[in-house]
Every structure is written in C-alpha cells, then in structure tokens.
C-alpha cells in the first residue's frame, strides 16, 4: 500500500540551483526505506518536500494517493503524519525540558492536558528517556539528544518517520541502540525512511533503497540489487557495501557458493564453499597415499 508517492518532482532553490529533478518514488506502508547518496545529492531537500515544508516547482506528491494541498489545514494533516527528525538534534529540541519538548507536538495537535501527559509518558518510557524528563536538553549526551528528537516526532504518532542521517556522530553502541529502536518501531507497522551516505548501513538495514546523485534518483530496488550495480555506485561516488564487495571477490575466485548476498559476517563466512565437503576429481595417475595438488 503506497503511503507517499512523488511524480516527476522538481524543486529549484531561490538562487537557481536545482535540488530535486525528475524524482519518482513510491513509499509503501510498513517498509524501511533508505535514500543513499553523497552530501548535497538532494536527500534533505526531498524530505522537506515530502512533509510539505517546501512546495515543488513541478510534479506532485501523493499522500495516500491524494495530491498534497498547500493550505494550512492540509499541511497540518501531512506534518502530523509525516514526521521529520533532522540531523542535528540541537536544531530540533527547543523546549526547556525533555518533557515539554516531547509534549510540544501533541499540545499543538490540540490534545487535552491529560492526553498529552499520557502520550508523553508513554513515549518517554518507550524511548528509554523517562529518567531524564525533568532535565534541560543541554545536560544530555549526543545519543540521548538524538532520542529526544525522535521522541518529539514519535509522540505525534505519525504514519511515516523520516530521519536525516540518523547515525551521524553516534558511536557504535549508540548507533546499535538507535537501530534497535527504529526496528522495533517498524515492527509496529510504522514506515521508516532514512537518508545516509553509509552504504553499509543502507545495505544491512533497509528493505528498499533509492540511490541518489546530483538531485536525481539513479537506481532503486532491494539493497542487493540497488547497491551492487557498480556503474550506478560510481556515478553516485559511493562504493559497494563491504560484505557485498568481499562476497563478489570470493565469487570471482570461485571460493563462494551462489548464496543470497550476505548481510553480516556469519552469513559471509557461510557463503564460503565448505572445504570438508568438497569433491575432488582425482587424476588417473594418482597413487594411494599421494598428496593431491588442487
């Protein structure tokens, strides 16, 4: 079921630079989608178009198969349902305490005081932030701020959550925690869109990948497909995902099974042809007790 769709989208900044050109995408419900591309390839602009903050010069955006309208009532509707988490949490957290910040969206949606209280408490609990609720944002670590920024969006109960470079500046533990959280949220049927320049992340995490370069979508498909075309990747100035690259090297040398593309190290090792089950063609002149040179 398509939630968001764009048709022939084009957007040019007031100074004349084209930021989005000819973009056709379709976001399906409950999926994990990654937009992969270099900085400046148009990902962030596309996101601002998707929640109606920017208005396209050409083409249209369909939300549940209806074109977005740009009057304030329709915009509220779309912004409630398509939440954006920006890259830098300091740009997004503006209230004096975590509790107030997470409550900002629900309050503006017109929830009653008790409803706001319930939603905020549930969200904070869910995001593992309850103990921080009375703290001001500047007392939090980078990873905690990131989660508060997400909580502020999640509290509005959007259908789609868009995250711009969600793992930037997080260390490995922080990144893992955040991915777990996103996956869990996705399990509840929410659609999640991220942008990243990290092909490994997109390859391991996403259900569907859009490869962007120079304001256009130049490739799309499952991660295996979209991220194995080396011409498209070259155009996007990116390289293959590490595991995929190793797997291809192994395939070329005949060392790997024609297995499905490996997503982690155990899977990668499993693609290797297991030596202890290998059949060897013994040359006719072999004598009993000889060593065989394969």
């Amino acid at each position: 079921m398509s939630i968001l769709e764009t048709k022939n989208l084009k957007y040019t900044y007031p100074d004349g630079t084209t930021a989005i050109n000819n973009v056709d995408i379709e976001i399906n419900k409950g999926k994990k989608i990654a937009f992969v591309g270099r900085n400046g390839s148009g990902k962030s602009t596309l996101f601002l178009l998707l929640n109606g903050t920017l208005e396209p010069d050409e083409g249209e955006i369909l939300y549940h198969n209806e074109p977005i309208k740009y009057d304030s009532k329709s915009l509220r509707e779309i912004r409630k349902n398509v939440g954006i988490v920006f890259q830098n949490p300091d740009d997004q957290i503006f209230a004096p305490t975590i509790y107030q910040d997470v409550g900002f969206g629900p309050t503006n949606l017109g929830y009653s005081k008790d409803e706001v209280d319930e939603v905020v408490n549930n969200t904070l609990e869910y995001m593992g932030l309850k103990h921080l609720k009375d703290k001001p944002p500047h007392h939090l670590s980078g990873g905690q701020k990131k989660r508060v920024a997400i909580a502020g969006v999640v509290a509005m109960d959007p259908e789609v959550v868009i995250l711009d470079e969600p793992l930037s500046n997080l260390d490995p533990v922080g990144a893992d925690e955040l991915l777990d959280l996103l996956n869990e949220y996705n399990h509840f049927g929410k659609t999640i869109i991220i942008s990243t320049h990290n092909v490994d992340l997109a390859y391991q995490w996403a259900d569907y990948v859009y490869l962007m370069s120079n304001s256009e979508v130049i490739n799309e498909g499952t991660p295996d497909d979209a991220l194995s075309d080396s011409n498209a990747l070259k155009k996007a100035a990116l390289t293959q995902p590490t595991y995929l690259e190793i797997y291809h090297e192994l395939m070329i040398r005949g060392l790997a099974h024609n297995h499905r593309a490996p997503k982690d190290i155990p899977e990668l090792v499993d693609t290797l042809k297991p030596l202890d089950l290998m059949w060897v063609n013994v040359p006719p002149e072999t004598k009993v007790g000889d060593y065989l040179n394969l």
């Binding site: 957290i93 503006f94 900002f104 503006n108 949606l109 017109g110 001001p136």
Partner: protein
C-alpha cells in the same frame, strides 16, 4: 568558562521544594534588606541565606564564595562614590588627589556602609533563588502569575538557545585561543569581533532552522508548560514564619544602629 548558576540549581536538593515558598522567602529577604535602615539586618539576612544555600542547597562552598566576590566590585566602586560625595555631617576624612578634594562625612560613610550591606544581602537572596530554583521551575511560576503567554514562550525559547549559543561561543573562543587569538589586547579585540559576528550568523541560521523544526511539529501558537507538583509541608511553613518573625524583630531593634 562561564558558570551558569542554573546548572547547579538543577542538581540542588532544594529544587524539589515548593517554588512559591522559596520565592516568598526570597521576596521577603529582598524587601526587608532593601528597606532596612541599618546594616545589621541585611547582614543577618545575608548570613542566613548563605547558610541555607550552602548547607541545605548543597552549593559547593568554594564556588559560592567565588561567585559572591563578583558583585563586590560594583558594590565597592559605587560605595566609594557615595562615601566621598553623598550627604552631610561631620567630616571624617579628607585629602586631595591632583587638586580634587575628597571629603568623607558621617552621612556619606553611613550610607555607603548601608548600601554595601543591602547589596550584599540582596545578592545572597538572589543566590539562594538562583542556586536552588532552576529556570525550568520558574517557568511554571511565571505561568501562574498570568504574565502574557507570548512573553513566557519567548523566555522558554531564549532559555534553550542560550545554552546552544554559549557552547558555540565557547568552542569558537577555544579555537581562537589555540591559534593565539588572545595573545594581546589588539588581537583580543580583533578575535572578539569575529567571534561576535560568527555567533550572530550562527544564531540567525539557527532561527531559521528553529522555525522549520517548530513548523514541522505542527506549531499552532502553543508551548507546553512545565507543571511539577511541589507540595508545601506544614513544617516548612512554620520554619519560614519563625524565620520571618526573627528577621523582623532584628529589623525593629537595630533600625537606629549606624556605623559612625
């Protein structure tokens, strides 16, 4: 590095006491201090507020003393003027510097002592408030006082961005110091101008991002208020009342005491 008292208030055990009670105590201290006619009552207030801040509020003593010296510069500079120029009465001290006469008389000396003690007392009351009641608690109080909502909203947004920009300012200043930007007066002025300009640009950009962030969360002219329940206990009311009576008694019996 700039020390903001708010950071200490957030971890003070007194944060969780009733905000109104704290405000009433502070208001009482301020008003009695500023109305007193002898330096004795202000000194009593200063002492009691300091004790409360350091022992009940768990403010580090070293920090408290350091912060306390900051206003003294202003107080003494102002007091020196009063000392030599204000009022009449018997002459106590006089000398000439570069032909200008400096004459201190009893009224001036008394007023200078009074003003210094009032400032001292007022500052200690202010410190008690600042070290035990973080701004996030005061927003709830401001809301209850029915100040216009836009004023409170603006205060809350300013509060948040003060810390963001302080961070930026500190980082830029570090970067400048490391590249020897504050080695002498001339370079300090040059560096400082650039720091301010950069900071302004960053603030301006942040303002645009902030609008974007508020708007994409359906901003509709409403900010959420912090509304913590901080019940007041009977014992606290009794203690505060006893304190008020004590200070008023001191006030009454010492009102005619003067230094000279």
């Amino acid at each position: 590095m700039t020390t903001l008292l708010d950071d200490y208030a957030l971890i003070s055990p007194l944060r969780y006491r009733n905000n109104w009670l704290k405000l009433i105590i502070v208001a009482f201290g301020l008003l009695v201090g500023v109305s007193s006619t002898s330096p004795v009552t202000p000194l009593f207030i200063a002492l009691s507020m300091s004790i409360a801040t350091v022992f009940l509020g768990k403010t580090p003593l070293k920090l408290y003393l350091k912060i306390l010296t900051a206003p003294l510069g202003f107080a003494f500079a102002g007091a020196v003027v009063i000392f030599f120029f204000f009022g009449s009465g018997s002459e106590i001290l006089s000398f000439n510097i570069f032909g200008y006469p400096f004459i201190a008389n009893s009224e001036g000396v008394n007023m200078a002592a009074l003003v210094v003690s009032r400032t001292f007392s007022g500052m200690c009351c202010l410190f008690f408030l600042a070290f035990t009641t973080p701004m996030v608690e005061l927003f709830a109080v401001l809301k209850k006082t029915r100040l216009p909502e836009s004023f409170i909203e603006l205060s809350m947004l300013i509060y948040r961005y003060i810390f963001v920009f302080l961070d930026v300012a500190m980082s830029i200043k570090y970067a400048q110091t490391i590249r020897l930007g504050y080695k002498d007066v001339k370079s300090s002025i040059y560096s400082f101008s650039m720091l301010v300009s950069t900071l302004f640009l960053r603030s301006w950009e942040q303002g645009e991002k902030l609008y974007l962030a508020m708007d994409s969360r359906c901003y509709n002219g409403r900010m959420m208020m912090f509304d913590a329940k901080r019940p007041v206990e009977l014992s606290e009311i009794i203690t505060a009342s006893l304190y008020f009576i004590f200070i008023l008694t001191v006030f009454y019996f010492t009102k005619n005491i003067s230094v000279v």
